[in-house]
Symmetry: D3
Subunit: 169 residues, 6 copies
């Protein structure tokens, strides 16, 4: 079997921090599985984009880089931590290692004897979903934080207006 | 926006009939979205493989053909036909046309004003999930009905034994 | 509190048998609560119409009769018999008596100490959901089995074509 | 088809603000569909009444006014915004226009190309669910904020004691 | 950690075949975990008793034997085979070995590397849930197939009448 | 029927306060049913332990005391207060009285005409789940708040490390 790694995030939206992590992992393993967490959520202040929209942001950005050794898998929440790893396992190709910044996800995979690692470093203060969403809603400069192809997806779906609308701005 | 088509199936397993459909559609549109239906099912006589295993069968087979303009999206059942199209829409990139052999899926998308088409022809008697599963369980020749890369996935996960086991053979 | 009765059915579709029952009960009690069972189902051979479409069939038929002492409540399945009565109680105004032809529903309400009665008689062979659906799909005369206002609803939503479509006829 | 409007709220409880909106809309369109949101919730501080109790508050209040061109539909949450409009559509008769004060509901229906309007004005500070619930729990004057028939429903079900009980007062 | 074994069944109802298996296992291991499968089902022809009623049948029968080294755990279905073992693991104390006659359950635990064994033999033709239910409904002699304490539970809850009622006999 | 009492808690973890309540009730009634609420939750800051782990804490502690007249029943949340009592009733043996400190649970059972009582007194400030969890995470003395057998369970499953891990400490 190949050397395959899992990287899970909510990607609300997919930003340059995520992008640098994915590019690094993709260059180090045979294949990377990108799990889109909370795939069922959208139109919420902290979760504005649908699973399909986030899928498109990620895949367009990777295609622009000429990267093709990836799987993208939307993962719907099941609200039961003790069963979550098994839920993920049933939806993805088998993996040898898991990359995550989440303490909870790290713990859940470690209790199932997975090799869990911290993703490569990036400026987590600047490239953070919270910061990107804040800038989009408030009308500040946000496009520089996001891969160009993902910016295009966000604009095509009228993302900034949706976000301001549901925020009541 | 690009010209994008959706093709939905259960792919239990992914066979040469599916494969010829996907190749034809992929050559005619900019991008094909392959929806894996009933993604939550596995270890049942008519649904032996997990969503992740099916994902791997499809993507390995397409990579062997050098095809890369596809999205694969596992779709968990929601058991509510009237809401199903909306459920699918929330998980996939937007599409312009839908290919399906299912009367129900055709109807559901038509009622939402989609352009629904019959997939290109293939020998549906020979290349059918039911026939493939029957052969695997009974120990007849089955590898000739399935793309080589998908055969490899099925064998790596000990698929034939699993199928015989749950069938009580 | 008033004298209120519950009558539960799937109403796929609402036919003259249901209609005569509702009219009789409505004339005998202060208020009748009509529960639309399996409200989440639609586009299936035995459950072609949505909860909303069935709601409209019933209310239009009752308005044509000048009847107004009714409540209509769509009830989604929960697949747990032991909890079902409580589920219904939480969605409807309180009732004193329950009318049903279903042995299961009769048992469930009796175990909760309800007064359960058989609905007034009608020709259950002729006025049966199964028979009505069979006629619509096969193109036989069906409009004489259904209240005029409900016929209009079924035609407006292109019901016969939907039913033939999903049946593969 | 008639000219039909949807108005969605949680109605915890149904107060004179809601009532004036419903009366105005009911006088302007052929039929009004009143959707009871979060119908599955009850016995919570912000959601004290069951779907059935709220149904009864609304229908009794409208009958007192001699209004009869309405549909009342309890709507259970599905916790997926992208699918919610489709969920509502499957439970109600088709509508041409949607009235709502909620930014989120406005956005969701607009993305599905609905004509969404602001409900007619009323004093939203005084007639607010939060204010009514606060007064009931603290024992202040609350009956003047609610239609007389709805007051009767709340008292019959021992509402004020239930609210104080679950609040721990 | 102790030597602990899991034995899963639906126990509709708990009969002498189950009882002999439980007694044998209980005498061979430190502790036996008895999982009540499909705990949410009841009032169906093949699943007449609630999880609580089955719990009581089992525990009363074991107490009569002076057996006390057991755990009883109702397990609600999740309809996802690939996740089911993990679901069970989250509800029970950890076990070293699994006893089951079900091919599916055997397969699911084996794929998670459990030691799975066939339960000790008993006359599976005579002591079978299907046969017991058939006899109860048809009024034949059934009490000799069931532990005395479980017979008492079935009679106290008016079980035979419930079963005949929902069967339409 | 016997004299049976229900006592419901989340038991995160099972501490000496719970233990004294259970011992007192168990000495006063024929049988005590201990319902483990929110049984599906685990690996959360306020809900660190699985249903199975909590089951084991309780039963080991009771066995150490020589108590055997108890039932332990994990109860998964259904997020619908109006249906919750019925949900519990379907999973447990029938009870005559309910002991709880929760205002909500007291109200829900009272509305179903149950005899609800306050549990016997204990020092609720010292013996509180919140306090125990705080001490475990911060490394303070916690073993004196918990029955010895439950301490052993928590240590065997590496509980303190899990709690610190998911808390990000």
């Amino acid at each position: 079997m190949n050397d395959r790694a899992l990287y899970v995030g909510r990607f609300q939206p997919y930003h340059l921090g995520h992008h640098s992590v994915v590019k690094t992992i993709a260059s180090e393993v045979d294949e990377i599985v990108i799990g889109i967490g909370s795939a069922q959520l959208s139109h919420e202040i902290n979760d504005p984009f649908t699973g399909g929209e986030r899928y498109l942001m990620i895949s367009s950005s990777l295609k622009m880089e000429g990267i093709s050794n990836y799987f993208i898998v939307p993962i719907i929440d099941i609200h039961r931590n003790a069963v979550w790893v098994s839920h993920v396992e049933s939806l993805i190709p088998p993996v040898d290692v898991v990359y995550t910044n989440s303490d909870l996800i790290e713990r859940l995979f470690k209790e199932k004897s997975y090799d869990v690692r911290k993703p490569p470093l990036y400026d987590r203060h600047k490239y953070a979903g919270t910061e990107v969403r804040r800038r989009i809603v408030s009308g500040e400069r946000w496009k520089e934080l996001i891969p160009e192809a993902a910016v295009r997806v966000i604009c095509e779906i009228d993302g900034p207006n949706r976000m301001r609308h549901i925020t009541g701005v």
